[in-house]
Protein backbone atom coordinates (compact mmCIF):
# COMPACT_ATOMS: atom_id res chain seq x y z
CA UNK A 1 0.00 0.00 0.00
CA UNK A 2 1.27 3.44 -0.86
CA UNK A 3 1.73 6.01 1.88
CA UNK A 4 -0.69 8.41 0.18
CA UNK A 5 -3.34 5.74 0.32
CA UNK A 6 -2.64 4.95 3.98
CA UNK A 7 -3.00 8.59 5.05
CA UNK A 8 -6.38 9.20 3.42
CA UNK A 9 -8.91 10.25 6.11
CA UNK A 10 -11.33 7.51 5.06
CA UNK A 11 -8.65 4.91 5.64
CA UNK A 12 -7.68 6.31 9.04
CA UNK A 13 -11.27 6.62 10.23
CA UNK A 14 -12.18 3.14 8.97
CA UNK A 15 -9.27 1.55 10.78
CA UNK A 16 -10.04 3.39 14.00
CA UNK A 17 -13.75 2.59 13.96
CA UNK A 18 -13.37 -1.04 12.92
CA UNK A 19 -10.75 -1.85 15.54
CA UNK A 20 -12.66 0.05 18.20
CA UNK A 21 -15.78 -2.00 17.47
CA UNK A 22 -13.76 -5.21 17.44
CA UNK A 23 -12.26 -4.45 20.87
CA UNK A 24 -15.61 -3.32 22.23
CA UNK A 25 -17.16 -6.57 20.99
CA UNK A 26 -14.44 -8.54 22.72
CA UNK A 27 -14.80 -6.67 26.01
CA UNK A 28 -17.65 -8.78 27.48
CA UNK A 29 -15.58 -11.92 26.93
CA UNK A 30 -12.55 -10.33 28.60
CA UNK A 31 -14.73 -9.32 31.54
CA UNK A 32 -16.18 -12.80 31.79
CA UNK A 33 -12.74 -14.36 31.72
CA UNK A 34 -11.30 -11.96 34.30
CA UNK A 35 -14.26 -12.56 36.61
CA UNK A 36 -13.99 -16.32 36.28
CA UNK A 37 -10.33 -16.42 37.31
CA UNK A 38 -10.60 -14.33 40.49
CA UNK A 39 -12.31 -14.76 43.86
CA UNK A 40 -15.69 -13.05 43.53
CA UNK A 41 -15.20 -10.80 46.60
CA UNK A 42 -12.15 -9.29 44.91
CA UNK A 43 -14.04 -8.69 41.67
CA UNK A 44 -16.82 -6.93 43.55
CA UNK A 45 -14.37 -4.69 45.42
CA UNK A 46 -11.95 -3.85 42.61
CA UNK A 47 -13.90 -4.49 39.44
CA UNK A 48 -12.86 -7.17 36.96
CA UNK A 49 -10.81 -4.64 35.00
CA UNK A 50 -8.28 -4.38 37.80
CA UNK A 51 -5.36 -6.69 37.07
CA UNK A 52 -4.01 -6.93 40.63
CA UNK A 53 -5.07 -9.67 42.97
CA UNK A 54 -5.23 -13.42 43.17
CA UNK A 55 -5.81 -15.63 40.19
CA UNK A 56 -7.41 -19.01 40.76
CA UNK A 57 -9.17 -21.85 38.96
CA UNK A 58 -11.37 -22.49 41.99
CA UNK A 59 -14.51 -21.30 40.19
CA UNK A 60 -13.95 -23.76 37.34
CA UNK A 61 -13.30 -26.65 39.67
CA UNK A 62 -16.37 -25.83 41.71
CA UNK A 63 -18.85 -25.60 38.80
CA UNK A 64 -17.48 -28.76 37.22
CA UNK A 65 -17.44 -30.96 40.29
CA UNK A 66 -19.80 -29.56 42.94
CA UNK A 67 -22.90 -31.81 42.73
CA UNK A 68 -25.05 -28.69 43.00
CA UNK A 69 -23.80 -27.45 39.59
CA UNK A 70 -22.19 -30.57 38.04
CA UNK A 71 -21.21 -29.05 34.72
CA UNK A 72 -19.07 -32.12 34.01
CA UNK A 73 -22.25 -34.15 33.49
CA UNK A 74 -23.75 -31.40 31.37
CA UNK A 75 -20.63 -31.35 29.26
CA UNK A 76 -20.73 -35.10 28.73
CA UNK A 77 -24.45 -35.07 27.86
CA UNK A 78 -24.01 -32.21 25.41
CA UNK A 79 -21.37 -34.21 23.55
CA UNK A 80 -23.50 -37.35 23.58
CA UNK A 81 -26.31 -35.32 22.03
CA UNK A 82 -24.36 -33.09 19.66
CA UNK A 83 -22.12 -35.64 17.91
CA UNK A 84 -24.81 -38.00 16.54
CA UNK A 85 -27.14 -35.04 15.96
CA UNK A 86 -24.48 -33.62 13.66
CA UNK A 87 -23.42 -36.76 11.78
CA UNK A 88 -26.81 -38.44 11.28
CA UNK A 89 -28.64 -35.52 9.64
CA UNK A 90 -25.56 -34.74 7.57
CA UNK A 91 -25.69 -38.12 5.85
CA UNK A 92 -29.48 -38.31 5.62
CA UNK A 93 -29.79 -34.76 4.29
CA UNK A 94 -26.96 -35.25 1.79
CA UNK A 95 -28.84 -38.24 0.34
CA UNK A 96 -32.02 -36.18 0.03
CA UNK A 97 -30.15 -33.20 -1.38
CA UNK A 98 -28.65 -35.42 -4.07
CA UNK A 99 -32.15 -36.49 -5.13
CA UNK A 100 -33.26 -32.85 -5.26
CA UNK A 101 -30.28 -31.78 -7.33
CA UNK A 102 -30.10 -34.68 -9.82
CA UNK A 103 -33.44 -36.47 -10.22
CA UNK A 104 -36.85 -35.36 -11.33
CA UNK A 105 -39.73 -36.94 -9.45
CA UNK A 106 -43.33 -36.34 -8.48
CA UNK A 107 -43.93 -33.66 -5.86
CA UNK A 108 -40.34 -32.46 -6.15
CA UNK A 109 -41.26 -28.79 -5.90
CA UNK A 110 -43.85 -29.38 -3.19
CA UNK A 111 -41.29 -31.26 -1.08
CA UNK A 112 -38.67 -28.60 -1.63
CA UNK A 113 -41.01 -25.80 -0.56
CA UNK A 114 -41.95 -27.91 2.48
CA UNK A 115 -38.30 -28.05 3.43
CA UNK A 116 -37.91 -24.29 3.04
CA UNK A 117 -41.00 -23.69 5.19
CA UNK A 118 -39.75 -26.09 7.90
CA UNK A 119 -36.53 -24.04 8.07
CA UNK A 120 -38.58 -21.04 9.20
CA UNK A 121 -40.92 -22.80 11.66
CA UNK A 122 -40.21 -21.97 15.31
CA UNK A 123 -39.26 -24.83 17.66
CA UNK A 124 -42.23 -23.79 19.81
CA UNK A 125 -44.60 -25.10 17.13
CA UNK A 126 -43.38 -28.67 17.50
CA UNK A 127 -42.75 -29.31 21.16
CA UNK A 128 -46.24 -30.01 22.54
CA UNK A 129 -47.06 -33.05 20.34
CA UNK A 130 -43.41 -34.12 20.50
CA UNK A 131 -43.59 -34.12 24.28
CA UNK A 132 -46.43 -36.64 24.21
CA UNK A 133 -44.87 -38.61 21.34
CA UNK A 134 -41.60 -39.04 23.23
CA UNK A 135 -43.54 -39.92 26.37
CA UNK A 136 -45.38 -42.71 24.56
CA UNK A 137 -42.10 -43.95 23.07
CA UNK A 138 -40.47 -43.96 26.52
CA UNK A 139 -37.93 -41.42 25.30
CA UNK A 140 -38.92 -38.46 27.43
CA UNK A 141 -36.03 -37.28 29.61
CA UNK A 142 -33.71 -39.50 27.51
CA UNK A 143 -30.80 -38.19 25.47
CA UNK A 144 -31.87 -40.46 22.59
CA UNK A 145 -35.17 -38.61 22.30
CA UNK A 146 -33.43 -35.27 21.97
CA UNK A 147 -30.96 -36.76 19.45
CA UNK A 148 -33.85 -37.94 17.26
CA UNK A 149 -35.47 -34.52 17.36
CA UNK A 150 -32.29 -32.57 16.65
CA UNK A 151 -31.40 -34.91 13.79
CA UNK A 152 -34.82 -34.54 12.18
CA UNK A 153 -34.87 -30.79 12.71
CA UNK A 154 -31.39 -30.41 11.16
CA UNK A 155 -32.32 -32.37 8.02
CA UNK A 156 -34.32 -29.48 6.54
CA UNK A 157 -31.63 -26.83 6.47
CA UNK A 158 -28.79 -29.23 5.61
CA UNK A 159 -30.78 -30.59 2.67
CA UNK A 160 -31.27 -27.05 1.38
CA UNK A 161 -27.62 -26.22 1.96
CA UNK A 162 -26.20 -29.37 0.34
CA UNK A 163 -28.59 -29.19 -2.61
CA UNK A 164 -27.21 -25.74 -3.42
CA UNK A 165 -23.70 -27.14 -3.30
CA UNK A 166 -24.46 -30.25 -5.37
CA UNK A 167 -26.13 -28.11 -8.03
CA UNK A 168 -22.83 -26.32 -8.59
CA UNK A 169 -20.70 -29.46 -8.94
CA UNK A 170 -19.71 -30.27 -12.54
CA UNK A 171 -21.55 -33.32 -13.84
CA UNK A 172 -19.07 -34.76 -16.35
CA UNK A 173 -17.34 -37.02 -13.78
CA UNK A 174 -20.70 -38.48 -12.77
CA UNK A 175 -21.69 -39.03 -16.38
CA UNK A 176 -18.41 -40.75 -17.10
CA UNK A 177 -18.97 -43.00 -14.08
CA UNK A 178 -22.50 -43.77 -15.29
CA UNK A 179 -21.13 -44.79 -18.68
CA UNK A 180 -18.69 -47.09 -16.89
CA UNK A 181 -21.66 -48.74 -15.18
CA UNK A 182 -21.40 -47.27 -11.67
CA UNK A 183 -24.64 -47.27 -9.66
CA UNK A 184 -26.06 -44.02 -8.31
CA UNK A 185 -25.24 -45.16 -4.78
CA UNK A 186 -21.62 -45.69 -5.80
CA UNK A 187 -21.50 -42.32 -7.50
CA UNK A 188 -22.97 -40.66 -4.41
CA UNK A 189 -20.61 -42.24 -1.90
CA UNK A 190 -17.45 -42.43 -4.04
CA UNK A 191 -17.65 -39.23 -6.09
CA UNK A 192 -20.18 -36.75 -4.72
CA UNK A 193 -19.42 -36.99 -1.01
CA UNK A 194 -15.61 -36.71 -1.40
CA UNK A 195 -16.06 -33.74 -3.73
CA UNK A 196 -18.33 -32.09 -1.17
CA UNK A 197 -16.03 -32.17 1.83
CA UNK A 198 -15.85 -28.36 2.16
CA UNK A 199 -19.65 -28.08 2.23
CA UNK A 200 -19.97 -31.06 4.57
CA UNK A 201 -17.41 -29.48 6.92
CA UNK A 202 -19.32 -26.20 6.89
CA UNK A 203 -22.66 -27.91 7.54
CA UNK A 204 -21.15 -30.05 10.30
CA UNK A 205 -19.59 -27.02 12.02
CA UNK A 206 -22.83 -25.04 11.93
CA UNK A 207 -25.08 -27.94 12.94
CA UNK A 208 -22.77 -28.88 15.83
CA UNK A 209 -22.79 -25.29 17.06
CA UNK A 210 -26.57 -25.11 16.90
CA UNK A 211 -27.19 -28.40 18.64
CA UNK A 212 -24.65 -27.58 21.34
CA UNK A 213 -26.26 -24.16 21.78
CA UNK A 214 -29.80 -25.49 21.88
CA UNK A 215 -31.67 -24.69 25.05
CA UNK A 216 -35.37 -24.84 24.21
CA UNK A 217 -35.66 -28.50 23.16
CA UNK A 218 -33.49 -29.51 26.11
CA UNK A 219 -35.62 -27.45 28.51
CA UNK A 220 -38.78 -29.20 27.33
CA UNK A 221 -37.55 -32.78 26.92
CA UNK A 222 -34.83 -33.26 29.56
CA UNK A 223 -35.46 -32.63 33.23
CA UNK A 224 -33.50 -34.95 35.52
CA UNK A 225 -30.20 -33.44 36.66
CA UNK A 226 -28.25 -36.44 35.34
CA UNK A 227 -29.75 -35.98 31.84
CA UNK A 228 -29.45 -32.22 31.47
CA UNK A 229 -27.18 -30.72 28.85
CA UNK A 230 -24.72 -27.93 29.53
CA UNK A 231 -26.95 -25.03 28.47
CA UNK A 232 -29.49 -26.15 31.06
CA UNK A 233 -26.87 -26.63 33.73
CA UNK A 234 -25.27 -23.24 33.24
CA UNK A 235 -28.46 -21.21 33.77
CA UNK A 236 -29.08 -22.94 37.09
CA UNK A 237 -25.80 -21.69 38.57
CA UNK A 238 -26.50 -19.25 41.37
CA UNK A 239 -24.68 -18.23 44.49
CA UNK A 240 -25.98 -18.92 47.93
CA UNK A 241 -27.35 -15.47 48.74
CA UNK A 242 -26.78 -13.48 45.57
CA UNK A 243 -25.61 -14.17 42.03
CA UNK A 244 -22.04 -15.45 42.27
CA UNK A 245 -20.57 -14.11 39.06
CA UNK A 246 -17.34 -16.00 39.67
CA UNK A 247 -19.16 -19.32 39.28
CA UNK A 248 -21.54 -18.10 36.60
CA UNK A 249 -18.75 -16.68 34.44
CA UNK A 250 -16.67 -19.86 34.77
CA UNK A 251 -19.72 -21.92 33.75
CA UNK A 252 -20.43 -19.61 30.81
CA UNK A 253 -16.88 -19.93 29.52
CA UNK A 254 -16.93 -23.72 29.82
CA UNK A 255 -20.23 -23.86 27.93
CA UNK A 256 -18.90 -21.86 25.02
CA UNK A 257 -15.48 -23.51 24.64
CA UNK A 258 -16.50 -26.38 22.30
CA UNK A 259 -18.41 -24.26 19.74
CA UNK A 260 -15.72 -21.57 19.84
CA UNK A 261 -13.05 -24.23 19.19
CA UNK A 262 -15.04 -25.68 16.29
CA UNK A 263 -15.45 -22.18 14.91
CA UNK A 264 -11.75 -21.42 15.32
CA UNK A 265 -10.72 -24.67 13.62
CA UNK A 266 -13.21 -24.53 10.75
CA UNK A 267 -13.56 -20.77 10.49
CA UNK A 268 -13.10 -20.57 6.75
CA UNK A 269 -15.81 -23.18 6.11
CA UNK A 270 -18.00 -21.76 8.83
CA UNK A 271 -18.12 -18.22 7.47
CA UNK A 272 -18.40 -19.33 3.86
CA UNK A 273 -21.16 -21.72 4.87
CA UNK A 274 -23.01 -18.96 6.71
CA UNK A 275 -22.78 -16.71 3.66
CA UNK A 276 -23.69 -19.48 1.23
CA UNK A 277 -26.55 -20.66 3.36
CA UNK A 278 -28.39 -17.35 3.16
CA UNK A 279 -27.41 -16.28 -0.34
CA UNK A 280 -28.22 -19.71 -1.73
CA UNK A 281 -24.87 -20.06 -3.42
CA UNK A 282 -23.31 -22.79 -1.24
Amino acid sequence: MRLKHVLRPAVIISNLVAWLVALLWLLPFVGLFMTSTRPFEEVVLQGWWSLAGNYTLANYVEVLTDPQYDLATGFKNSFIVALPSTLAPLLIAALAAYAFSRFSFTMRNLLFVTILVIMAIPQQTMVIPLFFLLKSMGLLDQLLGVILIHSSWGIAWITFFMRNYFSMLPRDVEEAARVDGASYATIFFRIILPLSLPALAAAAAIQFTWVWADFFFALIFLYSPENMVITQKVVTIKGQYQIDWGLLSAGSILAMIPPVLVYAALQKYYLRGMAGWVTGKG
Binding site: N15, A18, I155, A156, A275, T279
Partner: protein
Protein backbone atom coordinates in the same frame (compact mmCIF):
# COMPACT_ATOMS: atom_id res chain seq x y z
CA UNK B 1 -29.40 -49.05 -2.16
CA UNK B 2 -31.10 -51.55 -4.48
CA UNK B 3 -30.00 -51.52 -8.03
CA UNK B 4 -32.83 -52.04 -10.50
CA UNK B 5 -30.65 -52.89 -13.47
CA UNK B 6 -31.72 -52.53 -17.06
CA UNK B 7 -35.14 -54.10 -16.74
CA UNK B 8 -37.87 -53.23 -19.24
CA UNK B 9 -39.47 -50.97 -16.62
CA UNK B 10 -39.99 -47.51 -17.97
CA UNK B 11 -36.99 -45.31 -17.24
CA UNK B 12 -39.27 -42.69 -15.81
CA UNK B 13 -40.65 -44.92 -13.07
CA UNK B 14 -37.14 -46.06 -12.27
CA UNK B 15 -36.02 -42.49 -11.76
CA UNK B 16 -38.91 -41.81 -9.38
CA UNK B 17 -38.17 -44.93 -7.38
CA UNK B 18 -34.48 -44.04 -7.26
CA UNK B 19 -35.21 -40.51 -6.12
CA UNK B 20 -37.50 -41.70 -3.35
CA UNK B 21 -34.94 -44.22 -2.14
CA UNK B 22 -32.52 -41.35 -1.64
CA UNK B 23 -35.25 -39.30 0.02
CA UNK B 24 -36.67 -42.05 2.22
CA UNK B 25 -34.67 -41.57 5.46
CA UNK B 26 -35.14 -37.78 5.35
CA UNK B 27 -38.87 -38.00 4.65
CA UNK B 28 -39.41 -40.62 7.35
CA UNK B 29 -37.74 -38.55 10.09
CA UNK B 30 -39.27 -35.26 8.92
CA UNK B 31 -42.77 -36.76 8.84
CA UNK B 32 -42.65 -38.23 12.32
CA UNK B 33 -40.64 -35.61 14.21
CA UNK B 34 -41.40 -32.36 12.36
CA UNK B 35 -44.49 -32.44 10.17
CA UNK B 36 -46.70 -34.53 12.45
CA UNK B 37 -45.94 -32.30 15.48
CA UNK B 38 -46.64 -29.14 13.50
CA UNK B 39 -50.05 -30.51 12.45
CA UNK B 40 -50.60 -31.68 16.02
CA UNK B 41 -49.98 -28.22 17.46
CA UNK B 42 -52.48 -26.66 15.07
CA UNK B 43 -55.02 -29.29 16.03
CA UNK B 44 -54.44 -28.84 19.78
CA UNK B 45 -54.76 -25.07 19.44
CA UNK B 46 -58.23 -25.42 17.90
CA UNK B 47 -59.55 -27.92 20.41
CA UNK B 48 -61.40 -27.38 23.65
CA UNK B 49 -64.07 -29.17 25.70
CA UNK B 50 -66.78 -27.91 23.38
CA UNK B 51 -65.03 -29.22 20.27
CA UNK B 52 -63.35 -27.12 17.61
CA UNK B 53 -63.20 -23.44 18.55
CA UNK B 54 -61.08 -20.33 18.34
CA UNK B 55 -61.45 -20.05 22.12
CA UNK B 56 -57.76 -20.58 22.86
CA UNK B 57 -56.75 -17.84 20.45
CA UNK B 58 -59.27 -15.38 21.88
CA UNK B 59 -58.16 -16.19 25.42
CA UNK B 60 -54.48 -15.77 24.56
CA UNK B 61 -54.92 -12.47 22.73
CA UNK B 62 -57.22 -10.94 25.37
CA UNK B 63 -55.16 -12.17 28.36
CA UNK B 64 -54.47 -9.28 30.72
CA UNK B 65 -52.00 -10.56 33.32
CA UNK B 66 -48.67 -8.76 32.73
CA UNK B 67 -46.57 -11.93 32.54
CA UNK B 68 -48.70 -13.56 29.85
CA UNK B 69 -50.47 -10.71 28.04
CA UNK B 70 -49.66 -10.26 24.36
CA UNK B 71 -50.82 -6.64 24.25
CA UNK B 72 -51.30 -4.30 27.23
CA UNK B 73 -52.41 -1.11 25.57
CA UNK B 74 -53.01 0.89 28.78
CA UNK B 75 -49.29 0.85 29.68
CA UNK B 76 -48.14 2.12 26.31
CA UNK B 77 -47.24 5.65 27.37
CA UNK B 78 -45.04 4.52 30.24
CA UNK B 79 -42.57 1.80 31.13
CA UNK B 80 -43.01 -1.87 30.14
CA UNK B 81 -44.77 -4.32 30.45
CA UNK B 82 -46.48 -3.53 27.17
CA UNK B 83 -47.25 -7.16 26.38
CA UNK B 84 -45.16 -9.88 24.76
CA UNK B 85 -46.19 -9.18 21.19
CA UNK B 86 -45.36 -5.48 21.52
CA UNK B 87 -42.03 -6.34 23.13
CA UNK B 88 -41.18 -8.45 20.08
CA UNK B 89 -42.28 -5.55 17.87
CA UNK B 90 -40.12 -3.00 19.70
CA UNK B 91 -37.25 -5.46 19.60
CA UNK B 92 -37.61 -5.77 15.81
CA UNK B 93 -38.00 -2.03 15.28
CA UNK B 94 -34.76 -1.26 17.12
CA UNK B 95 -32.64 -4.32 16.53
CA UNK B 96 -33.23 -5.01 12.83
CA UNK B 97 -32.29 -1.54 11.53
CA UNK B 98 -29.43 -1.17 14.03
CA UNK B 99 -27.74 -4.50 13.28
CA UNK B 100 -28.35 -4.33 9.56
CA UNK B 101 -27.07 -0.78 9.14
CA UNK B 102 -24.07 -1.24 11.42
CA UNK B 103 -23.05 -4.40 9.57
CA UNK B 104 -23.43 -2.72 6.19
CA UNK B 105 -21.36 0.35 7.11
CA UNK B 106 -18.67 -1.72 8.83
CA UNK B 107 -18.47 -4.12 5.90
CA UNK B 108 -17.56 -1.27 3.58
CA UNK B 109 -15.19 0.32 6.09
CA UNK B 110 -13.41 -3.03 6.37
CA UNK B 111 -12.25 -2.76 2.76
CA UNK B 112 -9.84 -0.08 4.09
CA UNK B 113 -8.85 -1.89 7.26
CA UNK B 114 -5.61 -3.68 8.05
CA UNK B 115 -6.26 -7.06 9.64
CA UNK B 116 -9.85 -7.04 8.43
CA UNK B 117 -10.25 -10.80 8.70
CA UNK B 118 -9.20 -10.60 12.35
CA UNK B 119 -11.79 -7.87 12.98
CA UNK B 120 -14.46 -9.99 11.29
CA UNK B 121 -13.53 -13.09 13.25
CA UNK B 122 -13.56 -11.26 16.59
CA UNK B 123 -16.97 -9.72 15.96
CA UNK B 124 -18.37 -13.07 14.83
CA UNK B 125 -17.49 -14.92 18.06
CA UNK B 126 -20.69 -13.79 19.79
CA UNK B 127 -22.66 -15.56 17.01
CA UNK B 128 -21.08 -18.89 17.89
CA UNK B 129 -21.69 -19.00 21.63
CA UNK B 130 -24.89 -20.57 22.98
CA UNK B 131 -27.59 -17.93 23.22
CA UNK B 132 -28.21 -18.72 26.90
CA UNK B 133 -24.60 -17.77 27.53
CA UNK B 134 -25.30 -14.65 25.46
CA UNK B 135 -28.17 -13.90 27.83
CA UNK B 136 -25.96 -14.42 30.87
CA UNK B 137 -23.33 -12.10 29.39
CA UNK B 138 -25.98 -9.43 28.83
CA UNK B 139 -26.95 -9.71 32.49
CA UNK B 140 -23.25 -9.51 33.34
CA UNK B 141 -22.47 -6.32 31.41
CA UNK B 142 -25.59 -4.63 32.79
CA UNK B 143 -25.05 -5.87 36.37
CA UNK B 144 -25.00 -3.11 38.99
CA UNK B 145 -22.25 -4.77 40.99
CA UNK B 146 -19.75 -5.94 38.37
CA UNK B 147 -21.08 -4.67 35.02
CA UNK B 148 -19.33 -2.09 32.86
CA UNK B 149 -22.37 -0.18 31.65
CA UNK B 150 -23.93 0.71 35.03
CA UNK B 151 -20.44 1.71 36.22
CA UNK B 152 -20.05 3.93 33.16
CA UNK B 153 -23.50 5.47 33.66
CA UNK B 154 -22.66 6.14 37.31
CA UNK B 155 -19.51 7.93 36.18
CA UNK B 156 -21.63 10.10 33.89
CA UNK B 157 -23.89 10.99 36.82
CA UNK B 158 -26.89 9.03 35.47
CA UNK B 159 -27.90 7.46 38.79
CA UNK B 160 -31.05 5.81 37.35
CA UNK B 161 -28.89 3.79 34.98
CA UNK B 162 -26.15 3.00 37.50
CA UNK B 163 -27.93 -0.14 38.74
CA UNK B 164 -28.70 -3.65 37.47
CA UNK B 165 -30.63 -2.97 34.25
CA UNK B 166 -32.23 -6.41 34.08
CA UNK B 167 -33.80 -5.95 37.52
CA UNK B 168 -35.93 -2.89 36.72
CA UNK B 169 -38.95 -2.77 34.39
CA UNK B 170 -37.79 0.54 32.89
CA UNK B 171 -34.52 -0.94 31.64
CA UNK B 172 -34.85 -4.73 31.38
CA UNK B 173 -36.19 -4.84 27.80
CA UNK B 174 -33.74 -2.16 26.69
CA UNK B 175 -30.77 -4.09 28.05
CA UNK B 176 -31.81 -7.21 26.15
CA UNK B 177 -32.29 -5.32 22.89
CA UNK B 178 -28.93 -3.54 23.18
CA UNK B 179 -27.30 -6.85 24.07
CA UNK B 180 -28.82 -8.51 21.03
CA UNK B 181 -27.07 -5.97 18.79
CA UNK B 182 -23.82 -7.18 20.32
CA UNK B 183 -24.82 -10.80 19.76
CA UNK B 184 -25.89 -10.53 16.11
CA UNK B 185 -23.64 -7.97 14.49
CA UNK B 186 -21.27 -10.74 13.37
CA UNK B 187 -23.92 -12.26 11.15
CA UNK B 188 -24.81 -8.96 9.48
CA UNK B 189 -21.14 -8.10 9.02
CA UNK B 190 -20.23 -11.49 7.54
CA UNK B 191 -23.03 -11.52 4.98
CA UNK B 192 -22.49 -7.87 4.03
CA UNK B 193 -18.76 -8.31 3.81
CA UNK B 194 -19.14 -11.26 1.41
CA UNK B 195 -21.44 -9.10 -0.72
CA UNK B 196 -19.05 -6.13 -0.69
CA UNK B 197 -16.21 -8.42 -1.78
CA UNK B 198 -18.30 -9.38 -4.82
CA UNK B 199 -18.43 -5.79 -6.10
CA UNK B 200 -15.89 -5.52 -8.92
CA UNK B 201 -12.99 -3.40 -7.68
CA UNK B 202 -12.96 -1.52 -10.97
CA UNK B 203 -16.37 0.10 -10.23
CA UNK B 204 -15.06 1.64 -7.02
CA UNK B 205 -11.67 2.57 -8.52
CA UNK B 206 -13.35 4.26 -11.47
CA UNK B 207 -15.65 6.25 -9.21
CA UNK B 208 -12.68 7.27 -7.07
CA UNK B 209 -10.72 8.46 -10.13
CA UNK B 210 -13.78 10.47 -11.19
CA UNK B 211 -13.57 12.25 -7.83
CA UNK B 212 -16.42 10.56 -5.96
CA UNK B 213 -16.19 10.87 -2.17
CA UNK B 214 -16.23 7.79 0.06
CA UNK B 215 -19.77 8.66 1.12
CA UNK B 216 -20.89 8.90 -2.50
CA UNK B 217 -19.25 5.58 -3.33
CA UNK B 218 -20.99 4.00 -0.36
CA UNK B 219 -24.35 5.52 -1.18
CA UNK B 220 -24.42 5.06 -4.97
CA UNK B 221 -22.30 1.96 -5.57
CA UNK B 222 -21.99 -0.16 -2.43
CA UNK B 223 -25.51 0.10 -1.03
CA UNK B 224 -27.31 -0.73 -4.31
CA UNK B 225 -24.88 -3.56 -5.05
CA UNK B 226 -25.31 -5.30 -1.70
CA UNK B 227 -29.02 -4.52 -1.26
CA UNK B 228 -30.21 -8.14 -1.75
CA UNK B 229 -27.81 -9.19 1.03
CA UNK B 230 -29.10 -6.35 3.22
CA UNK B 231 -32.69 -7.51 2.78
CA UNK B 232 -31.70 -11.08 3.61
CA UNK B 233 -29.91 -9.96 6.77
CA UNK B 234 -32.90 -7.84 7.79
CA UNK B 235 -35.37 -10.71 7.30
CA UNK B 236 -33.16 -13.26 9.09
CA UNK B 237 -32.68 -10.87 12.01
CA UNK B 238 -36.41 -10.23 12.12
CA UNK B 239 -37.06 -14.00 12.23
CA UNK B 240 -34.65 -14.39 15.15
CA UNK B 241 -36.27 -11.50 17.00
CA UNK B 242 -39.68 -13.12 16.57
CA UNK B 243 -38.46 -16.48 17.89
CA UNK B 244 -36.24 -15.05 20.62
CA UNK B 245 -36.33 -17.10 23.83
CA UNK B 246 -32.96 -18.22 25.23
CA UNK B 247 -31.65 -14.72 25.91
CA UNK B 248 -34.80 -13.73 27.72
CA UNK B 249 -34.87 -16.92 29.78
CA UNK B 250 -31.24 -16.58 30.83
CA UNK B 251 -31.15 -12.82 31.46
CA UNK B 252 -34.51 -11.82 32.91
CA UNK B 253 -37.01 -14.73 32.87
CA UNK B 254 -39.30 -12.23 31.14
CA UNK B 255 -39.24 -9.99 34.19
CA UNK B 256 -39.43 -8.08 36.31
CA UNK B 257 -43.21 -8.25 36.26
CA UNK B 258 -43.43 -9.29 32.61
CA UNK B 259 -41.53 -6.21 31.48
CA UNK B 260 -39.27 -8.16 29.12
CA UNK B 261 -41.41 -11.12 28.17
CA UNK B 262 -41.76 -12.21 24.51
CA UNK B 263 -44.08 -14.47 22.50
CA UNK B 264 -41.94 -17.61 22.74
CA UNK B 265 -41.55 -17.09 26.48
CA UNK B 266 -45.31 -16.75 26.97
CA UNK B 267 -45.75 -19.98 25.00
CA UNK B 268 -43.33 -21.71 27.36
CA UNK B 269 -45.15 -20.30 30.44
CA UNK B 270 -48.46 -21.70 29.20
CA UNK B 271 -46.85 -25.07 28.41
CA UNK B 272 -44.49 -25.66 31.31
CA UNK B 273 -45.93 -23.56 34.13
CA UNK B 274 -49.69 -23.39 33.51
CA UNK B 275 -49.85 -26.82 31.77
CA UNK B 276 -52.46 -25.24 29.49
CA UNK B 277 -51.62 -26.97 26.22
CA UNK B 278 -54.43 -25.36 24.23
CA UNK B 279 -53.23 -21.84 24.97
CA UNK B 280 -49.59 -22.84 24.56
CA UNK B 281 -50.40 -24.25 21.12
CA UNK B 282 -52.42 -21.17 20.16
CA UNK B 283 -49.48 -18.92 21.12
CA UNK B 284 -47.12 -21.11 19.12
CA UNK B 285 -49.38 -20.93 16.06
CA UNK B 286 -49.58 -17.13 16.31
CA UNK B 287 -45.78 -17.06 16.45
CA UNK B 288 -45.60 -19.41 13.46
CA UNK B 289 -47.94 -17.32 11.34
CA UNK B 290 -45.87 -14.18 12.00
CA UNK B 291 -42.69 -16.11 11.19
CA UNK B 292 -44.06 -17.51 7.94
CA UNK B 293 -45.18 -14.09 6.75
CA UNK B 294 -41.61 -12.87 7.18
CA UNK B 295 -40.08 -16.06 5.79
CA UNK B 296 -42.25 -15.95 2.66
CA UNK B 297 -39.77 -13.43 1.30
CA UNK B 298 -36.81 -15.76 1.80
CA UNK B 299 -38.70 -18.75 0.38
CA UNK B 300 -39.67 -16.81 -2.75
CA UNK B 301 -36.09 -15.67 -3.16
CA UNK B 302 -34.68 -19.18 -2.76
CA UNK B 303 -37.09 -20.39 -5.45
CA UNK B 304 -36.04 -17.43 -7.60
CA UNK B 305 -32.40 -18.53 -7.39
CA UNK B 306 -33.68 -21.95 -8.43
CA UNK B 307 -35.26 -20.71 -11.65
CA UNK B 308 -32.45 -18.50 -12.82
Amino acid sequence: MSRVGDSPLSLKIKEHVRAYLFLLPALALLSVFVIYPIAGTISISLRSEEGFTLGNYIAVVTERSPTKALIISENLGGAPPWGALLHNAVWILVHVPATTALGLVLAYMLTHVYGRSVVKSLIFVSMVIPMVVGGLIIRFIFDGQVGVIPRLMGGLGLEDLARTWTAYPETSLASLIIGSIWLWLGFSLTIHSAAVDNIPRSYIEAARIDGASELQIFRYIVVPAVWPATLTVAVMTLLWDLKIFDIVYAATQGGPGGSSTVLAYVMWLYFARALDYGKAAATAVILTILTLVAAAYLVRRSLGVEKR
